[in-house]
Symmetry: C2
Subunit: 127 residues, 2 copies
């Protein structure tokens, strides 16, 4: 865990939002780190590899992992209003997925499960 990587994780944790790589990069640059895309991408890649962050495909964004270390099957609930990301664990979902794939002879190595919708807060207010 190096300074850039630590700072990147801190940024993700502080905002608690789905963040684009370039958004992260801007913050890193403010703190004196490099201003080039690979700086952010490499740090984020590292965090993802080590289970400290996740990549959200739908938004082309990243979010800090809320359950690092634990063996978990993350499911993301992304609010389309405020971009906040709730991460929940639903082993049953994963199991069903693996079973269904297995029936077709397909070997699942990695899975992405993302739900887009409204969080409780935004659902209360007017849309």
């Amino acid at each position: 865990m190096t300074p850039v990587r630590r700072r990147t994780l801190e940024i993700l944790l502080e905002t608690h939002r789905a963040m684009g790589a370039y958004e992260v990069l801007d913050r890193l640059a403010e703190d004196g780190f490099g201003r080039q895309p690979p700086v952010a991408y490499r740090a984020l890649e590292f965090l993802v590899e080590h289970g400290l962050a996740h990549r959200l495909q739908r938004l082309n964004a990243f979010a800090a992992c809320l359950h690092p270390g634990e063996e978990h099957a993350p499911v993301f609930l992304i609010c389309r209003k405020c971009d906040k990301v709730a991460e929940t664990s639903a082993p049953a979902v994963r199991n069903t997925l693996h079973d269904a794939a297995g029936e077709m002879g397909f070997t699942v190595e990695r899975a992405t499960i993302e739900a887009l919708g409204l969080c409780p807060v935004c659902a209360e207010g007017r849309e």
Copy 2:
């Protein structure tokens, strides 16, 4: 259903692979349609909106819908070797997802479930 849209769908069906928008665009151009990105993106957007195709976030790509018309909860099995996409339906997965989200007060509007792995064919041969 217009010529561009029809041709776009045909292309997706013919290849039966996850295709990037620019890949689709090249084929459309060969057939005399426009060469600019919006041509492909609009046609693909239309197909997705009308349930004739799906967008695969992990690959930034698109694939024809194999069960158009049916009310379905698609789950994608993407082979990382040959890029072929198998689309299966796993209502149980969706149900579990909706339930888990509901417990947290989250309203699911759309969900993306994609599995990356090896298809039976590629799993047989050497990786």
